[in-house]
Amino acid sequence: MAAIAKPRHELRLYVAGTTPRSLRAVQNVKRICDAALPDQYVLEVVDVYKEPGRLAKDQVIAIPTLIKFAPGELKRLVGDLSQEDQVRKGLGLLAA
């Protein structure tokens, strides 16, 4: 084996159409993950206007919300994700 694969990050980002914060959230999460987790994450972007039914399931009350399902315990991050350190901490990406 070439290398032991790191656990894959499973992420879901809730956005609301084209609001600036939603757009920024998409941009930020892509930037952070592409830098720290290239090809090691799955990101699903859910637009609450297209699928309002999914809000209750993940208990989202604010948009944007990024949910990390794996690895480790479930973690929610609210806002446009522009505070990079906090996002990295939330996703468990701070250097050990």
Partner: protein, 545 residues
């Protein structure tokens, strides 16, 4: 247990005071937590209309349902695709229509780069376009590549937008597939109309629901009225035996690739008349292999059909008559032979036994009877030969040396030739693809004719051969009495004799038999002659089988 009840040990005043403060602080927090939970609960359960959020310019009110909600629905439901891109081409937002254009669920589109959906050779151009887009609208036509490889022609219009501190480009994408399709149809329209109108056949083009889209001029005449945009089944009623050939049948046949090839159908006209037509139907595919409709081609064969039927009836009738005639001729020639032979034999016996024993008259009567009986015998032999000429139908396997056949024939006629003192000359004759018996009959009948119809001087008979393109022309010419041109055709008929029985004997069947033989080999026979200048009988026979 409440904190105030914990009085097990004496406590200092200071501690007492701090404890009280903490107690009231916890109570306050508890109450605020309860309030927050209630608020969250109220929001989560939909008990509020709007949220107030503090911003740099004071509080902002965010309506949960309102005017902009309607716009969002509009954006999601509209027929155009929309995407919001950042500077690098990253898709930050896409509506449902765009997702269906590129055939992917919308969740897996947001976060991808737009270049994923562009043909490789257009990616650089598009990046430049994106960078140059300012506040004014930019339009461009390009091809999107859907996730499954389908190519979708689109126009894309780009507009730069800067709100909330984020620099984006909004793109509205219009699918041109349908429009391209209609443009192509309009462009082809003129050409196809003139082709349709000049076609002799009737052509009807129907769409996938059976509506008539185009008709050729002759199809319009067939319908007897204007039929555009009417349903095929309300205009035409075609029957294939007892089955109706309607639009559903045509379309399902067209869909199954083979279509319909030239089936005979009957069209019932409103005036009660029927037409017979040949019907073909083929599919009309779109570039994406959807069945757009079908093309029905009709050829009116009513007249041809009627002529064919009349000819068929005539041929059948002729064949029946011919076969009756053959049977009759065979029966006559075959069945009459025996009684005639008896008449001939007994009259000869009478002649032998009673000649010079009766009176002069009786001798004359007996002689006439014997002659007549012999003539009748010969007539029947010839008639039998004639009826049998056409019956032998086996093919010739090897060519025959005509010189040999001529020599054999002359040998057979030896006595008659010697008596006539005729001088016979012959060209070198070719090899011929005929049966020996047939060639022999030809030579024998024609030479016998020359011997029979001779003039008073020395009889000269000449056999000639001349090569043509596909046929040899053979001739038997003499210096006999000749034939008046008015009888040149007449003489080949059955039982035709130009002269009475007394001077020239014969059954009148020789030339009829010759003609029948020659025609069997697709040749012909004719005569060149004038009275007093001899005759030249010519016939053709094939060079090869």
């Amino acid at each position: 247990m409440k904190l105030s009840e914990a009085k097990a040990a004496p406590i200092s005043d200071d501690l007492q005071t701090r404890l009280a403060a903490s107690e009231s602080r916890v109570a306050e927090l508890e109450s605020r937590l309860a309030e927050a939970e209630e608020t969250l609960h109220a929001i989560r359960t939909g008990q509020v209309d709007a949220l107030v959020v503090a911003g740099p310019d004071g509080d902002q009110i965010f309506a949960l349902e309102g005017a902009d909600h309607a716009y969002r629905i509009l954006v999601e439901e509209m027929q155009e695709g929309t995407v919001t891109l950042d500077q690098s081409g990253l898709i930050l937002y896409a509506n449902r229509q765009f997702a269906s254009m590129v055939r992917l669920p919308v969740e897996s589109i947001v976060g991808s780069s737009i270049s994923r959906f562009l043909p490789p050779d257009r990616r650089t151009t598009f990046s430049t376009l994106l960078a140059e887009t300012d506040g004014t609208r930019q339009r461009s036509e390009l091809t999107l590549m859907a996730d499954d490889g389908l190519r979708v022609p689109v126009t894309i219009s780009l507009n730069r937008l800067e709100t909330g501190g984020i620099n984006t480009v909004c793109a509205v994408i219009t699918d041109l597939t349908e429009q391209r399709h209609y443009e192509a149809m309009v462009k082809d329209g003129e050409l196809s109309r003139s082709i349709l109108d000049q076609a002799i056949e009737s052509i009807v083009v129907i769409d996938a629901r059976g509506k008539i889209l185009r008709v050729s001029e002759s199809a319009r005449k067939l319908a007897g009225r204007d039929v555009l945009l009417r349903h095929f089944d309300s205009v035409f009623e075609f029957w294939d035996r007892d089955q109706k050939v309607d639009a559903p049948r045509l379309l399902s046949a067209a869909r199954s690739d083979n279509g319909i090839r030239s089936i005979e159908v009957i069209l019932h006209h409103t005036d009660g008349a029927d037409s017979t037509l040949l019907l073909s139907a083929g599919p009309l595919w779109s570039s994406s292999r959807d069945l757009l409709g079908c093309v029905v081609t009709l050829t009116d064969i009513t007249e041809r059909k009627e002529t064919e039927e009349a000819l068929g009836r005539q041929a059948h009738e002729l064949e029946r008559m011919n076969s009756d005639l053959k049977q009759f001729a065979y029966a006559v020639s075959h069945d009459l032979r025996e009684p005639i032979r008896i008449v001939a034999n007994y009259s000869q016996l009478l002649e032998k036994k009673y000649k010079d024993k009766l009176d002069e008259h009786a001798d004359g009567y007996i002689r006439h009877t014997v002659n007549a009986a012999h003539r009748l015998e010969r007539l029947l032999d010839d008639l039998l030969a004639y009826t049998q000429t056409a019956e032998t139908q086996h093919t010739v396997e090897a060519p025959l040396d005509a010189n040999v056949v001529l020599a054999k024939t002359l040998n057979m006629l030896d006595t008659a030739l010697a008596e006539s003192g005729a001088r016979i000359e012959s060209d070198a004759l070719p090899m011929l693809w005929v049966e020996e018996i047939h060639l022999q009959q030809l030579f024998q009948n024609l030479i016998a004719n020359s011997l029979k119809y001779r003039s008073d001087g020395l009889l000269r008979i000449r056999i000639t051969a001349q090569a043509g393109k596909d046929m040899w022309t053979l001739g038997v010419s003499d210096n006999g009495i000749g034939i008046d041109p008015q009888y040149h055709e007449h003489i080949f008929g059955l039982f035709k004799r130009l002269h009475g029985g007394s001077k020239y004997s014969g059954s009148g069947m020789g030339l009829a038999i010759c003609q029948k033989i020659v025609e069997r080999y697709q040749g012909r026979i004719w005569v060149e002659s004038e009275p007093g200048r001899g005759s030249n009988f010519l016939f053709t026979l094939p060079k090869e089988t």
